[in-house]
Structures are given as structure tokens and as C-alpha cells.
């Protein structure tokens, strides 16, 4: 049995008296796409914050490539190969698109040269994302859809093993969402990444992932292949009145 | 026993002044995120204007208090219009706004303090008002100190009453909890912000007027009170006006007792030490709710 690239064991995150994530397990291997869905407030983003080291779990363990990184700061996770995007794009507003991408290469990416040879140059990353023509523009000046791509580019520049995508398709048009899904598959197939993809709009995600995990009120409600999870009565109930209507176009 | 009564009462008297200064500063920070470090300068201005009214126009400080409050309120409107309105418009990001308004506050501090030095000179000044002695539980206090304390308490409690009982006051309190609340209750923030800034300065001015009845005044008197107000706010909670009242009184008493038990030269070391410790260890409980 091989060690998973990323493994979360009974992760619990608390804010004051509120338990945002309550004993969630997750295994992600290289070259797979795992989806996480759940109604608003299910703890999806908080779970990502734990997976990327931005919050420290109250209990539970996090392993990256078999190494226990629980309690380590976020840059250690980045250097171990965990890259992420944020729900609202957090690009460096005053840097150009090319400079923003270079940033990741200079820090976590530099440390990970030995692990990953791919995407070693800024132009290669910009080409991969189709952002080459925006290279010299300030990050603040590109469209929100392109800022999302840039965020992925900044993440890829860290030469990750695992890519965490937080609602990268939110607010995009149908055609743009299709493009994002294709990009996710290319990250898996061409770069060999394990991708964890959070999305609130469920339909997009179910079509694109191999395995899906459903969070509800901080707990894991179901996990499995998308077609089975979509039929799960518990899942349907959790979504009724929240995401069900908008999720099924 | 006599000594303790004396310590507590004189601590409460200074504490009342601290509370007034801190409440005004807290109102400004809580509502607008302006940490106005020039707050103490307006206390000094209030003290000098009261002194001037007493000497030149022979007005009792209490007769002069209402016009003083109105005057400093108007000064507040003007300062807000000239400095902070533009800053709020050009700097929407809260963190950057806070840092910049802090620097503007330092600029104001230089300007107001040195204008006062230019006009009145650096000498200590004072006047005699209600200097007779009143005895409480066998301990003598000068009447002006007791009157100043009573006035500070009335003003402080009055402000809290206004904030709790009136619709506008409740709206202000709601907005100190969440800025978006203003939109919900339909309050015009562009009018409210200058007004609340003005109220803050008026309170500082009142504190200065009361101080001038008791202590000698100088153009550099304001700065320590700004620092004390920051400490009081850190203790009583940022955004909590009632906390500032209680925190001010408490600090006054603690300081009086602490100075008696240790050496007075340790006072500033201890104040700053406590202040930093509170901020470092409980920033979320005290600076942010």
C-alpha cells in the first residue's frame, strides 16, 4: 500500500465554542481529483485552511507525503507541496501577472526544484493557463476570471503535489466553468497533481471529479463516486432548501 | 483606614477624568476606526480656553462649560471635514485607513500643541476656583476636586444614557458592533461620523476644563492623557463606552494605590507594561470584538 500524498485524520477545528470542522478524514493521491461539496457554513473553507496550515486543528493529524505536519505554519505546508487558491482571489494587486507567478517560484517553488521539474519558468506557467498576453499587466487590472486563473498560476509556481481549489468556478459563466474543469483535468493528467476542489454549485463538480466528499455542519456526511453520492438520501436532504435548486440547472 | 479612603477617593477623582477622555477616544475609534492620538491636545485646548474665560471674562468654569462643549464640537466637525473625510473616501481598506488616520493624528498633535505653545508659552498656569476644603469621613478634599469628579461622572453617565436610551444612540452602538448595520437602520453615516468625532472632542475638552480647576496646566499636558486613555480603552474594551467609564475609574484607583505602594518613578514603566501586555496577549478580546 502506498502512502497518500495528503492525508487528514479526524481533523477538528474550533473557533471559540463553535466547531467548524468535526472529525473529518480525507485521503488524496497523486493524479486524482477529489471534490468537496456542502451547503454554506458546512466548514469547507475552514477544512482547506487546516489542510494548508493556515489554522491549526484542535485535534486530528495532517500528513503530507507521509510526514506529520500537524501544527506547522502554512509555509511548511507550501514547501511540502500543498498549494491553494482562495475563494475571493488574493492576488498581489500591485505586482504584474508575471511577477505574481514568479513569487511562488522564488519561495516554495525554489525549495521543490528537486521534486518537480515541470513548470519551472514563468512563461511556461502563463502559457499553461493561457495568461501569456496579460503577463505585463498589474494583477489588479485583469478581469476577475483571469484573477482566478492567476491565483492558480501562483499556486502552480510553488511546484505542488496537491492543489487545493476553493470555489474557482463561482460566479463564472457556463463556458468559463467548462474551461476551469478542463484545466483541472490537465493539472491532473499533464502535471500529475492530486487536486481537491471545493464548489458550492454541485453539478459542475460532480461531472468533473472521481470522488466526492460531502460536508454538512462540519461533519462528513457521505463520500464516494459522484453518481452514488448524488443519490444518497442524506445528501439530498442536506441540500434541500439550500443548494439543491441552484445546483441542478 | 484614613489613608485608604484618601487613596481611593483621589484615585476615583483622577479616574473620572481618565474615563471622560477615554470615552471620547473610544467613541471615535469604535465607530470610525480613527485612533485619534491628538485627543489629549483637545483636552489641553479645553483647559486653556476655560482658564482664559476665567481670567479674562471672569466666567466660572461651569458657566463656560456649555459654550466650550459646543465650540469643541464644532472644531471636531471642522477637523473631521478637513482631514478624515477625505481619508475615508480615498482609503476604503480598513487596515490602511487605521494606519493613515493614526499618522494624521500625530500631525494634528504637532499642530495643536505647538499652536498652544506659540499662543500661551510653555509656562505652567493655573487659577483658584473652589479651593476650600470639604471633609468626607474625616478626610479633607478641596471642593474643586469633588465638583470635578461629580461633573465627570454626570457627563459620563449622561453619554451612556444617551447611547442606550435614544434611537440615534442605539444606532451608534449598533454600528460600533458592525458598520453595515448603519445601512439597515438608514442612518446617514456622512453626517453621523463628523458629529460623533465632534462629541469625542467635546468630551476631551470637558475633561480639560475640569482638570484646569484642579491642576496647573501646560501645552504639553495632553499627551499623557492620550496614553492613559489608550490604556483605559485596552482595559475596558475597544468599542465599549461603558467599559471605558469603569476602566477609567479603576485605573485611577489602581494608579493611586500603586504609586503609594511602589515608587512614583515606576508608574510609567508599570502603565506601559500593563498596556503592552494586555494588547499582546488579548488583542482580540480588547481591540476587536
Amino acid at each position: 500500500m502506498t502512502t497518500p500524498a495528503l492525508a487528514a485524520r479526524s481533523v477538528v477545528v474550533r473557533f471559540g465554542g463553535l466547531t467548524a470542522v468535526d472529525g473529518v478524514d480525507l485521503d488524496v493521491d497523486d493524479r486524482t481529483v477529489v471534490g468537496i461539496i456542502g451547503p454554506n457554513g458546512a466548514g469547507k473553507t475552514t477544512f482547506f485552511n487546516a489542510l494548508s496550515g493556515l489554522v491549526t486543528p484542535a485535534s486530528g493529524r495532517l500528513f503530507v507525503g507521509g510526514a506529520d505536519l500537524t501544527g506547522k505554519p502554512a509555509h511548511v505546508f507550501a514547501r511540502a507541496g500543498i498549494a491553494r487558491t482562495f475563494q475571493t482571489p488574493r492576488v498581489f494587486a500591485d505586482m504584474t501577472v508575471a511577477e505574481s507567478v514568479r513569487f511562488g517560484l522564488e519561495f516554495a517553488g525554489r525549495r521543490r526544484r528537486a521534486e518537480r521539474a515541470s513548470l519551472a519558468e514563468v512563461p511556461a506557467i502563463l502559457d499553461f493557463l493561457g495568461l501569456a498576453d496579460s503577463a505585463a499587466l498589474p494583477a489588479r487590472a485583469v478581469t476577475p476570471a483571469r484573477q482566478r486563473l492567476l491565483e492558480i498560476g501562483m499556486a502552480l509556481a510553488t511546484r505542488p503535489r496537491i492543489l487545493l481549489l476553493d470555489e474557482v468556478a463561482a460566479g463564472l459563466t457556463h463556458a468559463e466553468v467548462e474551461k476551469v474543469a478542463r484545466l483541472v483535468h490537465r493539472c491532473r493528467d499533464e502535471l500529475g497533481l492530486g487536486v481537491v476542489w471545493i464548489e458550492h454549485a454541485v453539478a459542475v463538480l460532480l461531472d468533473a471529479v472521481e470522488r466526492v466528499l460531502v460536508l454538512h455542519q462540519g461533519r462528513k456526511l457521505a463520500e464516494g463516486i459522484p453518481s452514488a453520492v448524488a443519490r444518497d438520501p442524506l445528501v439530498i436532504e442536506a441540500y434541500l432548501g439550500d443548494g439543491a435548486a441552484e445546483a441542478r440547472p | 483606614m484614613r489613608l485608604w479612603i484618601e487613596l481611593v477617593v483621589s484615585g476615583l477623582i483622577t479616574g473620572g477624568i481618565y474615563a471622560l477622555v477615554a470615552m471620547g477616544l473610544n467613541l471615535q475609534y469604535g465607530l470610525m476606526r480613527i485612533l485619534n492620538v491628538s485627543h489629549g491636545e483637545f483636552l489641553m485646548l479645553g483647559a486653556y480656553l476655560t482658564y482664559w474665560a476665567y481670567l479674562v471674562m471672569h466666567l466660572s468654569p461651569f458657566v463656560f462649560l456649555p459654550p466650550l462643549l459646543v465650540g469643541l464640537f464644532v472644531v471636531g466637525l471642522v477637523v473631521h471635514r478637513l482631514c478624515f473625510r477625505r481619508l475615508a473616501e480615498t482609503t476604503p481598506e480598513v487596515e490602511a485607513f487605521e494606519a493613515r488616520s493614526l499618522l494624521v493624528g500625530f500631525g494634528l498633535m504637532f499642530v495643536v500643541q505647538n499652536v498652544a505653545l506659540l499662543v500661551w508659552g510653555a509656562d505652567l498656569r493655573g487659577y483658584q476656583y473652589l479651593a476650600g476644603t470639604v471633609s468626607i469621613a474625616g478626610v479633607g478634599f478641596t471642593a474643586n476636586r469633588l465638583v470635578a469628579f461629580a461633573a465627570a461622572l454626570v457627563l459620563g453617565l449622561g453619554l451612556i444614557a444617551v447611547l442606550r436610551a435614544t434611537l440615534l444612540g442605539r444606532a451608534v452602538r449598533a454600528m460600533m458592533q458592525s458598520p453595515t448595520g448603519a445601512l439597515l437602520v438608514g442612518i446617514d453615516v456622512r453626517r453621523l461620523h463628523p458629529a460623533v468625532f465632534g462629541v469625542g472632542l467635546a468630551l476631551a475638552g470637558a475633561a480639560g476644563a475640569l482638570l484646569s480647576m484642579v491642576f496647573e496646566i501646560s501645552p504639553s499636558m495632553g499627551e499623557p492623557y492620550t496614553v492613559t486613555a489608550l490604556i483605559v480603552i485596552a482595559l475596558g474594551g475597544f468599542g465599549s463606552v461603558t467599559g471605558s467609564l469603569l476602566g477609567g475609574l479603576l485605573l485611577g484607583v489602581v494608579e493611586a494605590i500603586g504609586m503609594h505602594l511602589t515608587s512614583p518613578s515606576l508608574k510609567m514603566v508599570l502603565s506601559y507594561g500593563v498596556f503592552m501586555l494586555v494588547l499582546i496577549t488579548r488583542p482580540n478580546g480588547l481591540f476587536v470584538r
Binding site: 496550515g53 493556515l54 505554519p73 502554512a74 509555509h75 505546508f77 507550501a78 514547501r79 498549494a83 491553494r84 482562495f86 488574493r90 498581489f92 494587486a93 505586482m95 513569487f103 511562488g104 522564488e106 519561495f107 516554495a108 517553488g109 525554489r110 501562483m154 499556486a155 509556481a157 510553488t158 | 485612533l35 482631514c83 477625505r86 481619508l87 480615498t90 482609503t91 487596515e95 487605521e98 494606519a99 493613515r100 499618522l103 494624521v104 500625530f106 500631525g107 494634528l108 498633535m109 504637532f110 499642530v111 500643541q113 505647538n114 499652536v115 506659540l118 496614553v227 489608550l230 518613578s265 510609567m268 514603566v269 506601559y272 507594561g273 503592552m276 494588547l279 499582546i280 488583542p283 481591540f287
Partner: protein, 307 residues
């Protein structure tokens, strides 16, 4: 860019080094105070300009450096005194940074201000308790030319280091922290270490400047060397000059030392009022500082020239 910058610094330094032999005492002392503020403002901007952690603690580092100088100048060689001031200030900033650099914005500014006041009162108290006096008279002091050249060397080092830092990964990390600290961390920047190192590095120059300037005054006390005004004027110069530029603070330091020398003695209050107004105007209308003026113009002119 870095090479051209360093060449300009070297040229400027060569001219400045000749001044004590060319000018009268008054002008040399003017140049000295200008160089001191160049060192302070440049090193301040290196950390606070890039990271947007506005520090009001420069006077603490300056004062510590001055006291290190006062304590050791009679016993130790001059370069050791200066290095001691720099090291003590850097070590102090490193420790303080560990405690307060997790707080941003107003908290950080207020805490650094508190830190410098606390240091001042603590030194006052310590001197009273253990030395019996508050002030110290410095009887042994190097010649005024030595002091001038030392401060020049510190200023040149500050500018040189600032140029090198800008072109380095360390400098990039500082900029990333200023732009979005959490984002920078998720891209692999060890933010805490970078912040503490940057804060300490910047403090080292203030400490060195304090150590060098202390002997100029012959008598020092905490009120003078821990004067919060030193920290505020440093921030003012850096902000008026442009917190993200190198030449801006240089120019602003020159303007302010001229203003200070000519106005402060005759019209001290008017000088401080002018400073206050300048600070407000700079914050309100020149967020990029004086440097913003020519940078915007350069940007506006570029397309025209290309056509």
C-alpha cells in the same frame, strides 16, 4: 538597476565624505543631521515601507544605541561601540518583534510607540536605581570628523543594504508580506522569520546611528535620546519622501534637515506646526510620497515618448 543605484550611492558618498574639509562647521552639522535622517528613514522604509507594518519604535532603537555608546565609549574602540549599538538594538528589535509582530495595523503602530516609551521609562528607572543619575556626561569622544564619517558610513550602508534588499528574495518576501501576508505564507514565505529579521535589520541602523550621534551631544538623558519625536520624524520623512522609494526618503531627509536647522532655532513652534501640517498633507494627498510625483509623471510621459 541595483548596480546603477549602488554606483549613484558611491558617488554621493564620495562627495559627502569631502564635506568636512570643504565647508564650515554649521554646514557640516547640517549635513550630519541630514545623514542621520537618511540612515533612519531609509532603514525604516526598508522594513515598514515594504511590509506596511508602520513602526513608531525607531526612537527606542536609537536611544538604546545611544546608551550603549554612553556606557562603552570610554572603554571600547570606536567601531566596537558602533557595532555594539547596532547589535543591541537589533537584538532588542528581534525579541520585541517576536512578541508583537503578529499584530498588524494600528495595534502594531501603537505597540511600537508603547515599546519606545516603555524602554525610555525603564532606562530612566534603571539609571536612577543603579547609576544614581538620569543623565550621563560623555567626556571621552572621538573627533567630530570621525563622528561625521561614521554617520556617513552608516547612511551609506543603510542605502546600500536597502538597494541590495530590494533586488533580493528577502526583499521580495517583505513586499509579499505587505501585499497579502497570508497569501505570501501559502506560497512558501516563512513570514514570521522574515518579519523579525527585517525588523531587526532595520533597527540595527537606528541603533548604530544612535551610538554615533550620542557622542555629539556630550550630555545625554533618556528624554533626549528616546524622544518619540525622533521616531515620528523618521516616519514623516519616509512617508513624505515615499515609503516604497529609495530616492524619495533621501530627498525628504535633505529638505527636513534644512527646514530643521533654519527654522528650529529661530521658530521652534512654527517648525513643528509646519511638520504636522506636512505630515497631514502628505498622508492625505501624497500616499506615494514625493516619489509618487515623479513616478506618476514618468508613467504619464512614457506612452507619449513611445509614440
Amino acid at each position: 538597476m541595483a548596480r546603477r543605484g549602488l554606483a549613484a550611492v558611491a558617488g554621493g558618498a564620495a562627495v559627502a565624505a569631502a564635506l568636512p574639509w570643504l565647508l564650515d562647521d554649521f554646514l557640516v552639522s547640517l549635513a550630519l543631521s541630514c545623514l542621520m535622517y537618511v540612515a533612519l528613514a531609509t532603514s525604516w522604509a526598508m522594513f515598514s515601507g515594504a511590509t506596511r507594518y508602520v513602526s513608531l519604535g525607531t526612537s527606542a532603537f536609537f536611544g538604546l544605541g545611544a546608551y550603549v555608546s554612553a556606557w562603552t565609549v570610554a572603554a571600547a574602540p570606536w567601531p566596537v561601540v558602533i557595532a555594539g549599538g547596532a547589535l543591541i538594538a537589533a537584538a532588542f528589535a528581534g525579541l520585541a518583534g517576536l512578541a508583537i509582530l503578529h499584530l498588524r495595523g494600528t495595534y502594531f503602530a501603537v505597540l511600537t510607540f508603547g515599546m519606545s516609551e516603555l524602554t525610555r521609562h525603564a532606562v530612566t528607572y534603571g539609571e536612577k536605581q543603579y547609576a544614581g543619575t538620569v543623565g550621563r556626561v560623555l567626556t571621552v569622544a572621538p573627533s567630530s570628523r570621525t563622528v561625521y564619517l561614521t554617520v556617513l558610513a552608516i547612511a551609506v550602508a543603510a542605502v546600500g543594504v536597502a538597494v541590495v534588499v530590494r533586488g533580493s528574495r528577502f526583499g521580495l518576501a517583505l513586499i509579499g508580506i505587505g501585499a497579502d501576508e497570508q497569501r505570501a505564507q501559502t506560497l512558501g514565505v516563512p513570514t514570521r522569520r522574515v518579519k523579525v529579521a527585517g525588523f531587526a535589520l532595520s533597527a540595527a541602523f537606528a541603533g548604530a546611528a544612535g551610538a554615533a550621534m550620542a557622542v555629539r551631544w556630550t550630555y545625554i538623558d533618556p528624554t533626549a535620546v528616546f524622544n518619540p519625536f525622533i521616531g515620528l520624524q523618521t516616519v514623516l520623512i519616509a512617508i513624505v519622501g515615499g515609503p516604497l522609494s529609495l530616492t524619495g526618503p533621501l530627498l525628504a531627509a535633505l529638505v527636513f534637515s534644512l527646514l530643521a536647522e533654519f527654522l528650529r532655532l529661530q521658530f521652534p513652534y512654527a517648525y513643528l506646526i509646519a511638520l504636522g501640517i506636512l505630515l497631514i498633507v502628505a498622508v492625505l494627498y501624497l500616499p506615494q510620497g514625493l516619489a509618487g510625483l515623479w513616478q506618476t509623471r514618468a508613467r504619464a510621459e512614457r506612452p507619449t515618448a513611445a509614440r
